[in-house]
């Protein structure tokens, strides 16, 4: 068989595959265009906070330089492949044997050195500006503690403990109020990553790490744990609510209040305080002061349960208490084997914790 006969079929197949590929890409573009809400896409290229923005600006420089290098080297390789391919049958003659050229080698050594120098200086500036930024007087301090598989947020200055949903005030240039986070871990490694606000920083046991954000706009910013932390790493989701200063102060006031005591849910409260619930969960103002699970004092002020795995609705809450595995397999919360009556009473009690 001649080489041309041997190779014809694969090329034809390649054309067919390329057509398929184009089709799939069209589908992709179509479906991406139909995405429900672009603000819910945690893209690193839509920064809304100084650290994320500095990184975004650095990434534009890095992407343009690497893009230019790619275009040049790609063209060189492509030129070689097209220009110097053997045409026709082998005539047995060898091309000119070239062993090298010191001048050329020097050129393609010095130019990359200069590129690396530029990239390094630009990068070093961003490292220092983000990592060593001074903490202004008006900064909010939060201690974030990673647990298998949920987030604990403590506001020491306010005496507030929250879980999974971080509330911070918006920070405008005129009235800068960034949030500085101290990152701790209760068990394994985790990583705090909200792409639109900042790059990730790990939460490591026996170690205090730091990061900061200063969101410029109000809204909900999504993220999730970015360091494998065990079976349910995938459902350790993270929500950051950026609010106006007034909304934030209101939220703090509400979180500081003790648990509301409502009449008519005593049965549910008794279930909570006589089963294992209270070993892991705290409800301020009651005997429940466990710390292995999220603080439930203001459970109903959260939009989600199970670290963002489900919306905080009556059905989900009941299903979660009945069998956590139905929402989040292998989460550390056990099923309590409650009767339907106990389950309804407990759900009703929890739903009063506003």
């Amino acid at each position: 068989m001649k080489p041309s006969e041997q190779t014809r079929k694969p090329y034809r197949a390649v054309a067919a595959f390329a057509a398929c590929l184009a089709f799939f890409l069209l589908v992709a573009v179509f479906r991406a265009g139909a995405s429900p809400d672009p603000s819910q896409i945690p893209s690193i290229f839509r920064p809304d906070s100084t650290p994320a923005d500095s990184i975004f600006r650095l990434s534009r420089l890095v992407l343009s330089i690497t893009g230019i290098i790619f275009a040049i080297v790609f063209s060189l390789i492509a030129y070689c492949v097209v220009k110097f391919r053997r045409r026709g049958p082998d005539d047995g003659r060898e091309p000119a044997q070239v062993y090298g050229s010191n001048r050329v080698e020097l050129a393609w050594t010095v130019i990359p050195v200069l590129i690396v120098l530029v990239l390094f200086l630009a990068t070093a500036r961003v490292i220092l500006s983000v990592q060593d930024a001074p903490k202004p007087a008006g900064a909010i301090e939060v201690v974030a503690i990673g647990h298998q598989y949920w987030w604990e947020f403590r506001y020491p200055a306010y005496g507030v403990v929250a879980a999974n949903e971080l509330h911070v005030p918006v920070s405008d240039p005129a009235n800068s109020s960034p949030t500085f986070l101290t990152l701790l871990s209760a068990d394994t490694d985790h990583s705090f990553w909200v792409p639109r606000l900042a790059g990730k920083t790990d939460l490591i046991p026996n170690r205090a790490n730091h990061t900061w954000i200063d969101p410029h706009e109000t809204g909900l910013f999504l993220g999730q744990c970015a360091q494998y932390c065990g079976v349910q790493h995938a459902k350790m989701l993270l929500r950051v609510y950026v609010e106006t200063r007034e909304q934030f102060d209101q939220w703090i006031r509400q979180q500081k209040a003790p648990a509301t005591t409502s009449a008519g849910v005593d049965e549910g409260r008794e279930v909570f305080e006589t089963t294992a619930c209270m070993n892991c969960h705290a409800i301020s103002g009651t005997v429940a002061n466990g710390r292995f699970g999220p603080d439930l004092t203001h459970l109903m002020s959260r939009d989600t349960i199970a670290a963002g795995a489900a919306l905080n609705t009556h059905e989900n809450l009941r299903a979660w208490i009945q069998n956590p595995n139905s929402i989040k397999p292998s989460s550390l919360m056990p099923a309590m084997n409650l009767t339907d009556r106990q389950l309804d009473a407990l759900t009703a009690y929890l739903e009063t914790l506003r």
């Binding site: 896409i41 990434s59 990068t123 961003v126 459902k235």
Partner: protein, 557 residues
């Protein structure tokens, strides 16, 4: 030089029982048989690791999929990573090195043939130990399980509090055992290259493949030793009450990261330098020109070897190092791009002005050039540590290192299989099937790993068994999974081609590619002890000198 080769000990293969043949292969100390054993063993695990990857990709094809439970997914990514690095990529490069180095330096075997056999069997035993965890991971306590701590097994997930049963022990011991095998192989490579070269082959006349494996072997000694030490420390933690990495007793999780990555980053170069070696042999032969800038290629390799030992903490930009630490590892990582770039330019220089012949080995090497270029550029993006804070531990990183390990390393290894298959088996592979393999695999590779960068930049972390809809990740994951099936089809064609050609392929002849290094001067397959008369060389391309007595290389070198 002497080109005479007399088939030594060409024992009639017929008339022996299967038992005798098996006994011969199990007890062999012949570097060629051991090399082939490495390759067969690695190909088997390539298929196993590929199945594990496919299971993960099916699980991720749509959000909230229920194909496998989270535990199984976590075992799959742990086993996939561990298998592909330690029991596919390492045995593949060691297999080719073991087979080719003595032939290329004109030696009759490795310096320590029995150590060579021991190294292979330790590596093989390590793989079996790892896979025994599927049935033995929980010991007598219940159903088996495989390790689920991730391939870099960060502390404290590996401590007994978080990893009960024996799955982590199997993982740790498998790496300890195969690591000892790797160090044995490295010692053997170094000694063979230093002391077994044929007359006339000075270091500056040694084929690049031998040079690059020489550098690689030193890196194995420096990189694998800390990993082996760390495994011993982990076992001490788990069974003798040590607290190296046990954070609940004041141990350090970051210490493990340092130990792992001071192995882990040089390891990338341990794998990619042999890939460079294959490209540096194949590209010249199929361009019909000598390698451009041989001394620069050697110097760049040595530079990569040294620099790669000082970059490990770029895997740890997010663990909260000081700004000075981050700055240091940014500059060292960026510097490594310079010798790497020099290599790419030299391969282009080799093709420039040549008469390039696109047989399967060359196709894979040209694809390697394109893909390694992209892998290097995404590497530069990751080296800028602030950018890394966004990209690390996301699917962007997964795409980046698969670009290196599949796009660069596996592609050249496929090229190497096609290039040296005629020498190893004495038979020619089927070129049409090889081209089908190439194109299917190329399309699958790009569909999977080009698009995999995108969800990473949209905030999708790695190692999640499922993801939320509505974050812009769905479509990309669907397409990425579709690419896997193209790659699987390519690999099946590849295996079928090798098996079919092994028994039915036409005779290849001693020198089917009109090549220039010593392995092509002996018969295909080479006889026991390779050369009846030890050859003597005068240049880097002894067979060129022989074929072109009017214009020999030694006049110019």
């Amino acid at each position: 030089m002497s080109s005479e080769t007399i088939a030594l000990g060409a024992v009639a293969e017929s008339g022996r029982s299967i038992g005798e043949t098996l006994h011969e292969w199990v007890t062999t100390v012949d570097h060629k048989k051991l090399g082939i054993l490495y390759l067969i063993y690695a190909l088997f695990f390539l298929v196993v690791g590929g199945v594990e990857a496919t299971i993960m990709r099916i699980q991720l094809i749509v959000p909230h999929n229920h194909f496998v439970p989270p535990e199984v997914f976590n075992r799959m990514f742990t086993m996939h990573g561990t298998t592909m690095i330690f029991f596919v990529a390492m045995p593949l490069v060691f297999g080719f090195g073991t087979y080719l180095i003595p032939l290329m330096v004109g030696a009759r075997d490795m310096a320590f043939p029995r150590l060579n056999a021991l190294s292979f069997w330790l590596t093989a035993f390590g793989g079996l130990l790892l896979y025994f965890s599927f049935i033995g991971g929980n010991g007598l306590y219940g159903a088996g399980n495989a390790p689920d701590v991730g391939w870099f097994a960060y502390a404290p997930l590996t401590s007994r509090a978080f990893s009960q049963g024996h799955s982590t022990d199997f993982w740790s011991l498998a790496l300890l055992v195969s690591g000892i095998g790797s160090i044995g192989t490295a010692v053997n490579f170094i000694t063979t290259i230093i002391s077994m070269r044929c007359p006339g082959m000075t270091l500056s006349k040694m084929p690049l493949l031998a040079w690059l494996n020489f550098v690689m072997a030193f890196m194995v000694i420096f990189a694998v030793s800390p990993l082996t030490a760390a495994q011993a420390m982990l076992c001490i933690d788990r069974y003798l009450g040590g607290h190296f990495f046990d954070t609940q007793a004041g141990g350090s999780a970051v210490l493990w990261m340092h130990f792992f990555w001071i192995f882990g980053h040089p390891e990338v170069y341990v794998l990619v330098i042999p890939a460079f070696a294959f490209a540096s042999e194949i590209i010249p032969v199929f361009s019909r020109k000598p390698i451009f800038g041989y001394p620069v290629m050697v110097a760049a390799t040595i530079a990569i070897g040294f620099i790669s030992l000082s970059v490990w903490a770029h895997h740890m930009f997010t663990v909260g190092m000081s700004s000075y630490g981050n700055t240091f590892f940014t500059i060292t990582t960026m510097i490594i791009a310079i010798p790497t770039g020099i290599k790419i330019f030299n391969w282009i220089g080799t093709m420039w002005g040549g008469k390039i012949q696109f047989k399967a080995p060359m196709l894979f090497c040209v694809a390697f050039l394109f893909q390694f270029l992209i892998a290097g550029l995404t590497g530069i993006m990751l080296s800028a540590s602030p950018f890394n804070w966004q990209l690390s531990a996301s699917y962007f990183v997964v795409a980046h290192f698969h670009y290196v390990i599949v796009g660069a390393i596996l592609f050249t290894i496929f090229g190497a299989f096609y290039y040296w298959f005629p020498k190893m088996s004495g038979r020619m592979y089927n070129e049409m099937l090889a081209q089908w393999h190439f194109w299917l695999f190329l399309i699958g590779f790009h569909l999977t790993f080009d698009l995999m960068h995108i969800p990473g930049m949209l905030g999708m972390p790695r190692r999640i068994y499922t993801y939320e809809p509505g974050r812009g990740w769905d479509t990309w994951n669907l397409l990425v999974t579709i690419g896997v099936f193209f790659q699987a089809a390519g690999v099946l064609i590849f295996v079928a081609n090798l098996l079919w050609s092994m028994f039915r392929g036409p005779a290849a002849g001693d020198d089917p590619w009109d090549a220039w290094t010593l392995e092509w001067s002996t018969t295909s397959p080479p006889p026991d002890y390779n050369f009846a008369v030890i050859p003597a060389v005068e240049s880097r391309r002894p067979l060129w000198d022989l074929k072109h007595p009017e214009d020999p290389d030694w006049k110019y070198e």
